[in-house]
Amino acid sequence: MSLRRTPLHALHKELGGRLVPFAGWEMPVQFGGVVSEHLAVRRQAGLFDVSHMGELRVTGPDALPLLQRLTPNDVSRLVPGRAQYSALTTDSGGFVDDIVVYRRGEESFLVVTNAANTARDLAWIRERGGTAAECVEDLSDETALLALQGPRSQAILQTLTDLDLATIRYYRFAEGEVAGVPGTVARMGYTGEDGFEIMVPADRAEGLARRLLDAGSPEGLVSTGLGARDTLRLEAKMALHGNDIDEDHSVEEADLGWIVKPDKGDFIGRDVLVVQREHGVTRKLVGFELRDRGVPRHGYPIVVNGEPFGEVTSGGHAPFLKKSLGLAYLPADACEPGQAFEVVIRGRPVPAEVVPTPFYVRPGKKKKKKKKRAAAAAV
């Protein structure tokens, strides 16, 4: 099967991107190098092509009830101009995919999906949505998505648009022109930094990317690839579908219970998720840090006293924090920070311990306090 290409493919080649197969697409894994790109996003800004992600338009009177049925978050609480992180859940509360739902109008929504899952998501929606799924339209081929991420993002983008970016708060969006290209500008991202995701018609994407890079280069903006996207999201403890979340791990187990709103009414997987919330889960996704040298990677075994304990779902060397970090599902009674275990790296057990997450919180943003932990400390 030949690899699919985004509208920025020619630009990536021109800019020296190293193109690799990813989820059926030919995508740039790096331009100047993963570490320098990662640091540019933490300190200035980076521009990612994420046009491989899927975009589904959901419109009409069936749209809201359909999305309420398919996702655990409460879509009715979205007012037009806001978006929410959510999931397509299985009957057992696992992830068909993790998604972002935008509400554009009373009966108009947009769902952004992972590239590798778009076709399966559509099949799932049609299977589980029945005739209501006729209101879902796949816009992925005609839509490009650019992610401008990093502390200089707003200053760079503001030079190219009349939209007042300061008024677009986190997980909100506005529709308007950027560099003369009509599109949707949302404040969100997958890096742990401030930034925007900009959705535009595919045939206008290359022109927009060039204008962004021109406007941003004096501010330190660089082209960034999927390699840095992965290390950035890991530092921010953002889950990657296929690694950290999948059909076999529930939303509650993935420590994403905040997207589950059981009071909104029934949805696929609700029964399981409600029981898990009330009675607890047997395993949970936690962050850990290696206490000795080495790099933990996806699939490496985790042991305690030589006994199997779990496995690494994501791991790597964190370029900004300069630590070896990872995520893993551990037994629920062994998830507190300080819990010690070993990661087996090519036969060698390396000490590690659970640490609070996210590993990285950008300056000026407060860590969310976990209610449960605060309550326990008060006792």
């Binding site: 993963v34 390699g227 290390t231 080495g294 790099v295 790597g316 070896s324 090519r346």
Partner: protein
């Protein structure tokens, strides 16, 4: 440019004969480019005996881990400890300060017959790219 005073393996290691029966070994510029930013280098203990094609260590970049094979047989006499704190030197100076280990060779005379010249190595790299 691939230095022509070194020998090469198909697994992208280089070897320099030091004239005293020992050799210095590292990874090639092509290898470091393919790996990307190197963040961790694992090397054998001095004194270890290696056979040809034994795994002698590993080099990890942000993207992947790659095992390093000893191209020849010998005993490890030194390892580049400076890489512990500065693994990125393998990227910036693969044929110089980014060297990995020094071996006392079991059979220094066999190197020329078993390893590639710079020209043959370049041909090998080009064929891998096809």
């Amino acid at each position: 440019m691939t230095p022509d005073d070194l020998y090469y393996s198909k697994e992208h290691e280089w070897l320099r004969l030091e004239g005293d029966g020992s050799a210095t070994i590292g990874i090639t510029d092509h290898a470091q480019q393919e790996l990307g930013d190197i963040v961790y280098v694992e090397l054998p203990d001095p004194g270890s005996a290696l056979e040809a094609d034994d795994v002698m260590g590993s080099v990890e970049s942000v993207k992947a881990v790659s095992e390093i094979f000893s191209p020849v047989a010998g005993t490890v006499t030194a390892v580049n400890d400076a890489l512990e704190d500065a693994p990125e030197v393998v990227n910036s100076d693969p044929y110089g300060d980014g060297w990995l280990i020094r071996l006392r060779l079991e059979d220094p005379g066999s190197v020329a017959g078993t390893m590639l010249s710079a020209g043959d190595y370049d041909t090998h790299v080009a064929s891998e790219a096809d």
